[in-house]
């Protein structure tokens, strides 16, 4: 038995939100002075877990022990008082205030309890910044003028301005250049040398190998492995833990012969600086092409650029050989492209409106004359489209917000079906969709392809891309690192490519 209890010990943490069990009995032990990495796919529960740790969410059940004593983290302030600081991915700095004001926000050095002593604040801020290896950041500067990397340093200085014992860093390297990442690691090393524990969240396995001591892997709200040695556990094993499945995916069969028609969508040399490298792509009627890659690999950006929602830095998009006006959604829609975006509620649906009105949104001209809507025709068309996709309930007058995730996605697909689109861009089509409803959605997508639609599919679920697509492009940080027919790839191969970028053939 260890003579000293771990610095932090969370056990049996559960947390449910309406309709989702985000955490399902998670255990996490963190020792003083270690870098404990938290790994998991999107939606695995990482964010919820660190919010519980930061006092921002209250767990439904489970216990948290701090230096062996049971504690309740009632609020972010309570967590901070214990010495737990969190640096979120979206930095929570006040842009219009100075560095020193931000660092001391909420605990300004004062005289007589309320007169702020700005000089003391500036001096102690300068001290902290020097300790973090960034003496060049002036405490008197406005935070909004600093670079993202510098803002992160300020955020860290704020954490250290408290008597901190544990720092949670949520993908701290995501916004950083390589040399800035090196500095980040130096800071982390310095912190752990002082006995501070770091909980480090990242998608990048190589980072975890460099600075991590132990790894906890989350999947579907459960810790599937706790405290693995970070440096010696094989990538393959970590990847398998992240993806290991309880459910079998059921995919519709591919057509016997590959589609041979003329390409309906052609992407030539399309690129956006800092998002994805020049891309060439051809999509034939009846074909499903998948883009596999991690978040931040440029998948969604590619779809949105093809769709005209982002303006490309180079290249063009052609439909039937005719180039589209770059950066124009309306041009893309008119040419027959439709997008089912990643965030259905934020980007596709009118949550206050009925299914009919959501489905008819892009095709209103089909049942209106001089702007006057023939509501009978609209309802009939919406009903036909939603029936074709077996949308439940079979009543297009219900508000779209009452539908399940899978049926909301069908409503988005029905919109493009009604519009008569020929190229469908699907961004994470099964996000937030129940496992049971997924198979049905896969069947719908394949059927639409069989009827002549060309589909470009993006998913962070590798099996989904492999099972549904005919051809797969593997992306890593904006580059296509591999292209192959889907049957020639398997999940481990793709994940190796995606995470390490070394095509081991």
């Amino acid at each position: 038995m260890a003579p000293e209890p771990p610095l932090l010990s969370m056990s049996g943490i559960t947390k449910s939100f309406p309709g989702v069990r985000a955490l399902d009995g998670v255990d996490l032990d963190v020792q003083a002075g270690e870098v404990h990495c938290l790994l998991g796919q999107n939606g695995a529960g990482k964010s919820t877990l660190i919010k519980v740790l930061a006092g921002a969410h209250q767990p439904d059940t489970g216990t948290i022990r701090w230096r062996g004593e049971a504690v309740t983290l009632r609020s972010p302030i309570a967590a901070m008082r214990l010495g737990i600081a969190t640096i979120y991915q979206e930095l929570d700095l006040v842009e219009h205030m100075t560095v020193a004001e931000n660092v001391h926000l909420g605990h300004e050095p004062t005289t007589a309890g309320f007169v702020v002593r700005p000089r003391t604040a500036r001096e102690s801020t300068a001290e902290l910044l020097t300790r973090l290896g960034h003496p060049e950041i002036e405490p008197g500067r406005t935070v909004g003028e600093l670079s993202a990397a510098q803002q992160q340093i300020v955020s860290m200085a704020r954490a250290l301005s408290h008597d901190v014992r544990l720092i949670v860093m949520d993908e701290p390297s995501a916004a950083l250049d390589p040399d800035e990442v090196d500095n980040l690691f130096r800071i982390v090393d310095g912190l752990t040398a002082d006995g501070v524990a770091v909980v480090y969240i990242s998608h990048r396995l190589e980072e975890i190998r460099r600075i991590g001591d132990r790894v906890t892997v989350l999947k579907d709200g459960r810790a599937v492995a706790g405290g693995l040695p970070a440096r010696s556990t094989p990538t393959r094993e970590v990847v398998a833990l992240m993806t290991g499945r309880d459910v079998e995916y059921v995919f519709p069969p591919r057509p016997a012969s590959p589609p041979t028609g003329e390409p309906v969508l052609t992407v030539e040399n399309l690129s956006r600086k800092g998002e994805f490298a020049p891309l060439d792509l051809e999509l034939r009627p009846g074909e499903i092409v998948g883009l596999a890659g991690l978040v931040g690999s440029g998948r969604s950006e590619i779809l949105e650029t093809v769709y005209g929602a982002r303006k490309p830095d180079s290249g063009r998009v052609l439909v039937d050989g005719r180039p589209l006006r770059p950066g124009s959604v309306r041009a893309a829609v008119r040419a027959g492209i439709g997008l089912a975006p990643e965030e259905r509620k934020a980007q596709a649906l009118l949550m206050l409106e009925s299914v009919t009105r959501n489905v008819s949104l892009s095709a209103m001209s089909r049942f209106s004359r001089a702007g006057w809507i023939d509501r009978g025709a609209e309802l009939g068309a919406a009903r036909a489209a939603t029936r074709e996709l077996s949308l439940r309930p079979d009543n297009p007058n219900v508000p779209v917000r009452t539908l399940s995730g899978g049926n909301q996605q069908k409503a988005v697909l029905a919109r493009w079906l009604l519009r008569g689109c020929r190229v469908l861009l699907l961004d994470e089509p099964t996000r937030g969709v129940d496992v049971g409803a997924r198979a049905e959605l896969y069947a719908v997508i394949r059927r639409l392809a069989d009827e002549g639609l060309a589909v470009l599919l993006v998913s962070s679920e590798v099996p989904e891309v492999l099972g549904l697509a005919d051809r797969v492009l593997v992306l890593r940080e904006g580059d296509v690192v591999h292209t192959a027919p889907a049957p020639e790839l398997d999940e481990h191969r793709v994940l190796d490519l995606v995470m390490e970028g070394s095509p081991a053939s």
């Binding site: 829609v333 008119r334 934020a346 980007q347 649906l349 209106s368 809507i373 509501r375 009543n395």
Partner: protein
């Protein structure tokens, strides 16, 4: 392909009436809880008016007066309802009414007679709306700021034109519209205009692609954009529409007052926004109701009338208005959370 068949109506009466249903049935279904409660408030007010001042309040002339007063602000509120439904706001409506009313009543304009006044009022309204719309839709300005700037500028310009003087209308054909002889079956022409604007506004919001786009832009601008809707153009049109309504309202005000003044339309923006909000239009956009807005206007105008008849000062009126706004929004939040 078989013709789509309406499913049998089940007991879930929360579902709005589908497709071709008898007119009375549609009306009943649409008269949701919120509309009914507004009607209830209005009925209660009429009752209060009838009890406290039975002779004066229920007098035909008084009721005609109430409706006439409601007409000017009512037309403005219809335009405002569209703007708010789209997630915007138009703080400049009162100032536009003032500017349109004085520009349309200058000596030079009056030389062109009835048509000159009407044309100028509408043109000034639409022109101001155009400036608002371009600044907001294509200049990327926040509606609050752009229309606040218009509020200040239009008021200033109105003062400059009039030099603070009242511009009396000398065109008889305009003034005659305010006389009793012009009433149609006892209804003042101003009220008829208000009714027409209301009906057209309702049809446009509920039955046209323009209305659908307005709701879509207000409900989820990003979704509207990704669905292929030209969000910016729609925003431009909406401020044009609000300006047009202000122009019409200015013309009604000219008939009513027989003059144009730079102080016209004072605080119309607050009255119009308040009426739309208590009517059930969401300030965040995505849902708008013309019927609710009109009921909101009628409620406010009736309160003013009852208070005036009972010799209560306007400070008490203002307090009552504020209380009603708070109560209405609280009730809405409760109903919103239960649906």
């Amino acid at each position: 392909m078989t013709q789509p068949v309406s499913p049998p109506r089940d007991s879930t009466d929360k579902v709005p009436a589908a497709g071709p249903a008898p007119a009375w049935r549609t009306v009943l279904f649409r008269a949701d809880v919120r509309t009914l409660s507004l009607l209830g408030v209005l009925a209660a007010l009429v009752l209060i008016g009838g009890i406290t001042k039975p002779d004066e309040f229920l007098d035909t002339r008084n009721l005609q007066l109430v409706l006439t007063q409601a007409s000017v602000i009512g037309v403005v509120t219809v335009g405002m309802t569209f703007v708010i439904t789209s997630g915007g706001i138009d703080l400049s409506v009162g100032a536009i009414v003032a500017l349109a009313s004085v520009w349309a009543t200058t000596v030079a304009t009056q030389e062109f007679g009835f048509a000159g006044i009407l044309f100028t009022a509408v043109l000034v309204g639409v022109g101001c709306g155009l400036v608002n719309g371009v600044l907001i839709a294509y200049g990327g300005m926040v509606p609050f700021i752009a229309t606040l700037a218009m509020l200040a500028s239009a008021r200033g310009l109105a003062l400059q034109i009039t030099d603070g003087r009242t511009q009396v209308v000398t065109i008889d054909s305009v003034l005659d519209l305010g006389e009793r002889d012009a009433y149609v079956l006892g209804i003042p022409p101003l009220v008829l205009v208000f009714a027409a604007v209301t009906v057209i506004g309702w049809l446009v919001l509920n039955r046209t692609t323009f209305g659908r786009r307005t709701v879509a832009v207000g409900g989820n601008a990003e979704a509207a954009r990704l669905a292929g809707i030209d969000v910016r153009r729609q925003r431009l049109y909406l401020y044009l529409l609000s300006g047009l309504c202000c122009g019409i309202a200015a013309f009604l005000l000219i008939i009513l007052a027989g003059s144009g003044q730079n102080t016209n339309g004072n605080l119309y923006e607050l009255d119009a926004i308040a009426a739309a909000i208590i009517g059930g239009t969401l300030l965040t956009g995505g849902r708008g109701t013309i019927v609710g807005s009109v009921l909101g206007v009628l409620i406010f105008t009736t309160i003013t009338n009852i208070f005036a008849l009972n010799n209560l000062q306007s400070d008490v009126q203002q307090i009552a208005k504020g209380a009603i706004i708070v109560a209405a929004v609280l009730v809405q939040r409760r109903t919103a959370s239960t649906t």
